[in-house]
Amino acid sequence: MAPYHTRQKIRQTYSWIGRPLLDRKLHHRTYTEICVKIEGCSTPVHIQVGQFVLIEGDDDENPYVAKLIELFEDDFELHSKKRARVQWFVRFSEVPAHKQRLLGRKPDAQEIFWYDYPACDSNISAETIIGPVQVVALAPDEVIPVDLKNEKIFFVKLSWNEKKFRPLSPELFAELEKLQESSPKCQKSVEAMTKNIESPAWTTTEQVVKRIESSHSASKSRQTPTHPVVPTARKRLELGSLTFPHLSCLLGLGFPRTPHTKISQPTSQASLDSSGRTKRKVNFSETTSQTKRSHLYRSEMSSPALKTPEKTGKVQPFCAKDVKKASPKCCMILRTRVPALKTTQINEERTLTPVKGGQRPSVPSVVLKPENIKKREAKEPETQNQATATSHRIRRRSSLLTLNRIRQQLRVLENNKSDQEEEEFLPTAEVSDSSSEEEEASTPALSRRNTRCISRNLRPFLKPSIQTPSKTPKKMAKSRTPRCATPQIRSRNLTTPEPASMLEEARLRLHVSAVPESLPCREQEFQDIYSFVESKLFDRTGGCMYISGVPGTGKTATVHEVIRCLQQAAQANDVPPFQYIEVNGMKLTEPHQVYVQILQKLTGQKATANHAAKLLAKRFCASASPQETTVLLVDELDLLWTHKQDVMYNLFDWPTHKEAQLVVLTIANTMDLPERIMMNRVSSRLGLTRMSFQPYTHSQLQQILGSRLKHLKAFEDDAIQLVARKVAALSGDARRCLDICRRATEICEFSHQKPDSPGLVTVAHLMEAIDEMFSSSYITAIKNSSVLEQGFLRAILAEFHRSGLEEATLQQIYSQHVALCMMEGLPYPTMSETMAVCSRLGSCRLLLVEPSRNDLLLRVRLNVSQDDVLYALKEE
């Protein structure tokens, strides 16, 4: 579906056809037909009401499909007066992932669904229409005709109402049938088109002037137009321009960009290449110092409401525009000329939930592109800071309002200008408009429309990161700026072969890393954690939960699943959006590094541990503005123990602050960790929400194995039961259980060398694996040791028996050894040989020995029980 992504390259102009009809109620002028003229193409396309159209979306490859219901001109819409009302269709990929399976079959590539969801916003800008498309209605049992398989034809069989798929109602079906007969004709009708003059032109006179002035800092020039308009804003911005050139540049980014900045990019890049390394250093210091400065700045401000970082945060989505060359993800976001309202939603989403699904789709898309940063570093080193600031994500309505006013004023001035830059500037204006609009008129209708838009707009952010996880990192490898680079192990040349046999398939499924779709036998725990987090999300409060359990009982996996479900629910707007962060005590070099990690995952900022702790404390304890909840998972909590216990204290103290909206889930092995190692003031803050994961019982282990090996007959039933019982009796560690089974498949494969044998893992194979896993290595070692070593061990036993102690000096043992050898008529070894034997056994840790400089006096202990040694020695 490549031909659709035309917006950047091909300019389209839209004009009405026919005479308007005045709508009395809404003061709209409605039209029946619109003409789309594509630059460079002589024949304009005409689209009538009732036709099926493609609507520009976030994904250029797959634009939205809709049926045009109404075309009208709305003077109240500021940036795009041509409006259209549509009935949406959804593609299968747009259905939330967790509901896709409701369909129960594989959808056809060209299949779409009638979107039966009245709450969805159907008012769009007419200028987002790409072109007509053909939609064919089919009965539910009809097969999609092969001959009609052409990319521009879609088929609709079912309707989707966010809850389930239903067959089309008969009247709807009839209507669609009728439409599809009439549609092809319309496409061909050719009419004269009128000139489009309405599209707003954003290049202002001021800017032209500024361009001529060609100030060295593009930022300055961009920000000057605000001067004559609103005194308060001016004052603020001036401040910015004087003391914080980078910051003001940020502000400026919200304004229309001049081509000048674009041209200057390559040069600056070149200069960067030469001095890349120093730049980086400078940059680093700049970033940090800047944050400091911004704090300073904030404190200087007379009005506390006007916080700089927040504002920069607001502007951030448009900064992404600057960096689009490097990142396909960014491009996708930017190139779209989405209807105004949708843009708002994107913006909204970004402000509210920049981190969705733990993938951090939007923020890192800027942060993680080293190229982008590199390109822009020389000129605007604060790119990094932008991203950082973004994540503050605190909405400053008042400041935005002012900005919007400024912009509106500007628009009046620049009315009749040529529209050269229109495409680029559009989103900027749209955002400000719509957000202001939302502030002023927050009617229920406005809030209702979100549903659809969220589900539509969010997904594209998520999609790329899910589908192509390696895309971004691959690029990183080339980059020279490691500060933000995420490196990757190089990809393999050889593709992994599909599992050839049943056993291989089983082995793949049994691997611990294979994440199951759901965790059997942990339903209750899942439910408890889920409802805990969910209630906190709804209440907009914080809280702590302590989860304990021995290794391999599914603690981390359950929490992950809870988060996954909640993220899906947040996407579907069932729960408030939240941000998810995960840290692991074992993956930290030092407990205080946890601050650094949290801060980095939260905001993308890098700081030292102390600084990060301060920033986090400020964020969680001091900020008064509403924000989304943060869910923090701390795995291996016991590793965060410090002498002062300040790390744990902070982690449990933050959620108690009302503004923090922080939910902390902690995981550790020991059940009594709070009592054992925490001070009272720490454990009291942890609260009483405890949960302990019991080791799996044998029936549960059996169930787990069964669910992993579903529809795969690789094991005998008895064998599964055996391993489940064995492991349950020992530890109940599911990991161990899976490992044993995996080993058993290996043994099975090994023993069935003939290819024709079916290879079913039997009890015998499993027994062998269990023996291997649980057998004592010491006994094997003693059995396999040399005669002299065995004699020495005997001497040790004899000496212990004689003295009644569990310790003896080498001299004592030597004399025993000599006596034993004489008794058996063997030649006794020399002292040197005995020393060598002793140190050899000591290096195997069969013995615990002192350093050998003590010579004859070194003390020897057994590291195995005497019975074990006796058993091992007797066996021959």
């Binding site: 990183m476 490691p482 192990i489 993956k587 070099t589 090994f750 040197s832 006096l857």
Partner: protein, 378 residues
Amino acid sequence: MSSRKSKSNNIIHAECLSQVQRILRERFCHQTPHTNLFGVQVQYKHLIELLKRTAIHGESNSVLIIGPRGSGKTMLINHALKELMDIEVVSENILQVHLNGLLQINDKIALKEITRQLSLENVVGDKVFGSFAENLSFLLEALKKGDRTSSCPVIFILDEFDLFAHHKNQTLLYNLFDISQSAQTPVAVIGLTCRLCLSEDRSVREVLQRHFNISKNLRSLHTLLMLALTRVTVSHPFLTAADLMEANQLCSMDSKANIVHGLSVLEICLIIAMKHLNDIYEEEPFNFQMVYNEFQKFVQRKAHSVYNFEKPVVMKAFEHLQQLELIKPLERTSANSQREYQLMKLLLDNTQIMNALQKYPNCPTDVRQWATSSLSWL
């Protein structure tokens, strides 16, 4: 004529022999990986299967090879890797990281080494790499990015694995095993160790255990054969059982007894005195004065051939014994303590002393008698 011929024959003979000697020596000294494996074929097959699965299927695995020193653990893994690299599809599809617990003494150094060997460092340029924490998160990030099907498998070989387990918090091991157990870049972690108690370590518990025990030390066998080989000369062209016996004797020689052979009669007398003291006081420590007294008794009552040395001379002999570490002070020697009264212990066993005395050249008979009869003369 005939003598010349035999001479040239001799020369050829000698050349042949030295060549043979050279070849054999090479075989004994350099452990070449292409030698055949004996006794560990099963384990070898197992290991190579495991590595192949990691390389080809991208399945994460971890193995711990346990065995005493010199039992061929390193040879086994080298062999396996060599065979693996001979397979063309595999060789360009695999990354190896070799670490040694004796070299990478802490996680910090180990992380740098890993980064270096994975040549991730080019990502960083030649800038001095960041802090330990940064390093760790960098590497983890790198390994996390991959998944089973797309990224290149990495084989970590940790020699002296037990030493890694001593690192603080076992951060490195935890993370390596964590990666191998989650859906990240496929890794095979192979640990080589001679300690058997690792399975009791907390985070390493999940490691599969394989025991590759060969009963005897191969390296010592090589040394033995080397010694025997040096005895091969033109006049004695073939190894005999006697050669091996002699070599074995050389190997198993008691080093302390050898030292005793070279002592003076006075020093031998002192050692015997100490032995008696040990017998009387049941391994209690002694000091110089006690030894001197014992020696005096012997000289005055029994000795015919031993001259009654003055005390400073005996003291000198005593100190010589201390230097040879045949006796050992119980506490550290401090400058102001009286040397005569410092408590000492003998580092020779009775049997050792008796054996040494039997071989001692020209030992006076009264001394020998004194040694055997500890209490009779009282």
